[in-house]
C-alpha cells in the first residue's frame, strides 16, 4: 500500500492561508507543571481519517448506548436482556452466555485478550486505541462537535473566548454547557442500564423511585464525563493516563506512527517561487500551520513524535488537503514507520552529513526517487506482532474451549468437621455432609444424588423419608440448592474398604453428572 497517493491535479502555487497557530504543548518549550493551562481550539479537519473517525465514533457510541436495549430470550426463568450484569443475584449474561461468579475467570481471560490485543494493535499501528476508540477521545470528539455547533470553528471560538462577557457570549456558553451536561447525564444514564432491566429501570429512574445507587452512579459518571470530556480534555491524556508512558515500550521501528516527513518537507517556506528564483532549496512544507491548528493535543507534529500525540491522524487530513491545493504528493504527514523514515532521512541528508535537501529524494523530472522507502504492509507481520497474535488467539481458543466444556451442574460437598463422625447405638458410624447443588441453567431440574462405593452404606437426607442410596432433589432454575445428608456405615462394614467413596449428582433427564470424591471418617480405635 502506498500511503503517498498521487495528488489531485491542482493549480501550482495556489494560495494557502497561513494559520496563526502556536503549538500550545510545544516540544521545543517545555512548560513548568504549575503553569496555567492554555486553551486549545482544534480546527475542524476534513479528509479520509476524519471520515473514518466519524464512523468509529458512531459505532462505539452506538454500542455503548444501545447494547442494554437489545433483548435476548432465555425462557421464563431468566432475564431477557442481552447484556446484563446482575450484581444482586451475581449472574452475568452476555447473549447466549451466562456466567456465575466462580466463572469470572472468563472475564479475566477477556481482559488478558484485551491487553494483548492492545499490544498487538500498538506494535502494528501505534496508538490507534488512543486516537480512535478510547472513550476519552470519542467523548471529547462528541463534545467538540457540540462546541463547534454552538460557537463556530477555531477562529470564532478563539474570538469568543477573548471577547468580554456579553449576553450573546453568555447565551452561547450556557447552551454549550447545558448540552454537554445533557450528554454527560445520558452517558451516566446508559451505564446503569447494564446492571438492571433497562426499560424497567428507565421507567423507575424517571419516576424517581429507582434505587439510590442508580442516581449516585449517574451523578458520578455525569461529573466525570463532563469534567474529563468537556473541561480537562487533552490534559487527561497527557497528565492522568498512564498509557502514553507505556507506549514507548510497545512501539518499535516498524510500528506505524503519525510522522512528519521532514526529509521531503524541509526546509519549509511560504514562498516556493521566490525561493526557486533565488536558487534556494525548499521542501514541500508551506508552513501553513494547518497541522497545528487541527491538533486536539496542541502539539506541532513537525517537532517529531511526542508523548502527547494520540495519533488521531487529523494532521494528516489537514496536510493532505493543503498538499492537494499546492499540487504536491499527499503524505507530507503520514503514517510511517521509524525504519522507513530513517532510511528516507538518511537519503535526504546524505547519511546525516548535510542539511536536508529534498532534491536528493526526488527525480529531476518529478516524483520520488526509487530509493525512497514507502510503507510495506508486510512489516505488520513480524515476529513481535505474530507472537502477540498467537498469545491473543490461544487465550481466545482457551476461553472458547472452556465455554464449551464447562459444567452446568455442579456438586459441592462440605464434610462435617465437628463432629467428624458419630457412633450410633448399634456401633454403626455416621458422617454428615452439607451438599450444594448448583443448577447453572435457567430451567428447573430433578437431580439424583447417590452414593458410589461403600456398598454397605446407606444415606439419609434431611427433609426426605427413609434410608436409601439414592435421593431425588428438585432444584430451582439458576439457583443453588442446599441439602443435608447423613451417610451411615454399619458396624460390620467398618474398616473393610473406605476408599472409592463418592457422592454423585446426576440430572434425571440429560444425565449430566458431577462426581465429588468424598471421605468417610471412622473412629481411630476401630481403624
Amino acid at each position: 500500500m502506498n500511503l503517498y497517493r498521487s495528488p489531485m491535479p491542482a493549480a501550482a502555487d495556489a494560495p494557502v492561508e497561513r494559520l496563526n497557530a502556536e503549538p500550545v504543548n510545544s516540544a521545543q518549550v517545555r512548560k513548568p507543571l504549575y503553569e496555567k493551562r492554555k486553551k486549545i481550539f482544534p480546527k475542524r479537519a476534513e479528509g479520509r481519517f476524519r471520515q473514518f473517525k466519524w464512523l468509529v465514533m458512531a459505532i462505539t457510541l452506538g454500542i455503548y448506548y444501545l447494547t442494554p436495549w437489545i433483548r435476548w430470550d432465555r425462557g421464563p426463568h431468566a432475564p431477557d436482556q442481552a447484556v446484563l450484569i446482575d450484581l444482586a443475584s451475581r449472574r452475568f449474561y452476555v447473549f447466549f452466555i451466562e456466567i456465575w461468579p466462580q466463572e469470572f475467570f472468563f472475564v479475566a481471560g477477556l481482559l488478558v485478550m484485551a491487553g494483548f490485543g492492545l499490544f498487538l494493535v500498538t506494535s502494528a499501528v501505534g496508538r490507534a486505541w488512543c486516537g480512535y476508540t478510547c472513550p476519552q477521545t470519542v467523548w471529547v470528539g462528541l463534545f467538540l462537535v457540540v462546541e463547534r455547533f454552538i460557537e463556530g470553528d477555531r477562529n470564532a471560538r478563539m474570538k469568543l473566548d477573548a471577547a468580554p462577557w456579553t449576553l450573546s457570549k453568555l447565551r452561547k456558553r450556557v447552551t454549550k454547557h447545558v448540552i454537554w451536561l445533557a450528554i454527560a447525564v445520558a452517558t451516566g444514564g446508559a451505564w446503569i442500564f447494564y446492571f438492571a432491566d433497562a426499560p424497567a429501570l428507565l421507567s423507575s429512574f424517571l419516576h424517581f423511585d429507582a434505587p439510590p445507587v442508580a442516581y449516585i452512579t449517574v451523578a458520578i459518571l455525569t461529573f466525570t464525563t463532563y469534567t474529563l470530556g468537556g473541561l480537562l480534555r487533552e490534559q487527561v491524556c497527557t497528565y492522568m493516563c498512564p498509557w502514553p508512558r507505556i507506549q514507548a515500550a510497545m512501539l518499535d521501528e516498524n510500528s506505524l506512527v503519525v510522522t512528519y516527513n521532514d526529509w521531503r518537507g524541509e526546509p519549509r517556506g511560504r514562498h516556493a517561487k521566490k525561493a526557486a528564483a533565488a536558487g534556494a532549496v525548499q521542501g514541500d512544507c508551506v508552513d501553513c500551520n494547518a497541522c497545528v491548528a487541527v491538533c486536539p493535543m496542541g502539539i506541532d507534529i513537525r517537532d517529531g513524535l511526542q508523548m502527547e500525540c494520540i495519533t488521531c491522524a487529523l494532521c494528516i487530513d489537514a496536510c493532505d488537503s493543503v498538499m492537494d491545493k499546492v499540487g504536491h504528493e499527499r503524505g507530507l504527514i503520514s503514517y510511517a514507520t521509524l525504519a522507513d523514515y530513517s532510511a528516507n532521512m538518511a537519503l535526504a541528508t546524505d547519511n546525516g552529513t548535510k542539511p536536508i535537501d529534498p532534491r536528493r529524494v526526488r527525480k529531476p523530472e518529478g516524483g520520488f526517487s526509487s530509493a525512497v522507502k514507502h510503507f510495506d504492509w508486510r512489516v505488520i507481520f513480524r515476529g513481535r506482532t505474530l507472537l502477540y497474535f498467537t498469545v491473543w488467539a490461544l487465550v481466545g481458543l482457551g476461553l472458547i474451549y472452556g465455554l464449551l466444556a464447562r459444567d452446568r451442574l455442579e456438586l459441592n460437598v462440605l464434610h462435617d468437621r465437628n463432629p467428624q463422625f458419630v457412633v450410633e447405638s448399634d456401633g454403626a458410624v455416621r458422617n454428615g455432609y452439607q451438599i450444594k447443588l448448583l443448577n447453572m441453567i435457567p430451567e428447573p431440574r430433578v437431580i439424583r444424588v447417590s452414593i458410589e462405593g461403600l456398598p454397605e452404606a446407606t444415606m439419609k437426607m434431611m427433609g426426605q423419608e427413609g434410608e436409601a442410596r439414592v435421593f431425588l432433589i428438585p432444584v430451582q432454575p439458576d439457583k443453588v440448592t442446599n441439602a443435608r445428608i447423613f451417610v451411615t456405615l454399619p458396624k460390620a462394614a467398618i474398616g473393610i474398604a473406605a476408599d472409592g467413596f463418592s457422592l454423585v449428582a446426576e440430572d434425571e433427564a440429560s444425565h449430566e453428572r458431577d462426581v465429588y470424591k468424598a471421605r468417610f471418617n471412622i473412629p481411630e480405635v476401630v481403624q
Binding site: P32, Y34, D416, V422
Partner: protein, 295 residues
Amino acid sequence: MTDKHISNTHTGPIDDISGVTTTGHEWDGIRELNNPMPRWWVWTLYATIVWAIGYCIAYPSIPLIRDSTKGLLGYSTRGELKTEQNAATQAQTAMADRIASASLQDILANPELSQFAIAAGSSAFKVNCAQCHGSGAAGSPGFPNLNDNDWVWGGSVDDIFQTVAHGIRHPGDDETRFSEMPSFAEGLQPLEIRQTAAYVVSLTGTPRDPAMAEPGKALFEANCAACHGENATGNRELGAPNLADAIWLKGEGEDAVAAQIRTPRHGVMPAWLPRLGETTVKELAVFVHSLGGGE
C-alpha cells in the same frame, strides 16, 4: 533562562539554574525554590480542614478527662450497635412469631420454619449449650453426645424440648427430669462390683473373661435390672441409660463402669425455659433434633 519559565508571581530573586523564583531563604548557600503546591491540592487541603472542624462539632471527638464531647448529632457506636440489633430482631419478628405459635410437629413439617428454627437454634446452642456439649454437640464423658441416636431421656422433639426447657436435676424446677443412681459401694463387695462391670461391658459384644462376667449376670439382675431393664436396654422414663449399646455416657471400659457402680456421678443440666423463653427453647429442640439422631 527565559521568562517563560517563571512559574508564579512571587517577586523574589530568580534562581539561575532552574529559572524559578526563590523564597529568599538561604542555608549555607542553598536557596529554597518557590515551587508552590498546585492550586487544586491546596484547596483540597483547606476543604479537609473545614471538614475536620465540622466533624468535630457534629461527632464525638475531643477527649475530656472522664469523657469526650458528645457531638451535635448525638452519634455513638454503641447506639449504632443497639439500633442494628433492634433492626435484626425486628426483621426476625415475623418468623419468630410463627415459631412461637406453631407446635413442634408443625415446625418440623414446614421446611421454611424448620430451616429458620435450625439456624436460630444453632446460634443459641453455640452461646448457651456448647460450653458442656461442645460446639459440634459431640459431648464428652458425662455430657451426652447429641448427634447420636442414643437418648437417656428420649429423642423425640417433644422429649428434647422438655429436657431443654426444664433441665435435668435442676433444683427449683418442678418438672425437671430427675433420677439418681444409688451407690452400691455398701451393698456389693468390691469383687461383685467388678463382676457386674465385666458383665455390663460384655453386653456390647466385647468379649470378657467368662469367670468374671457370668457371676455378674445374676448380680445385675438382682441390683440393676429394676431400672436398666432385664436386657440392660435402659428406661427412658427413669433416665436409666441403655447399657447394651455402643455408647457410654460416663466413660468407656470396665473401670469406668465399676466406678459408676461404686460412686455414681450425676450431671446437672439447667432449665433453660426461664432464661431463654419458649421460642428459643423450641428452636433449640428443633436444632438438636436435626443433628441426625432425632426420633
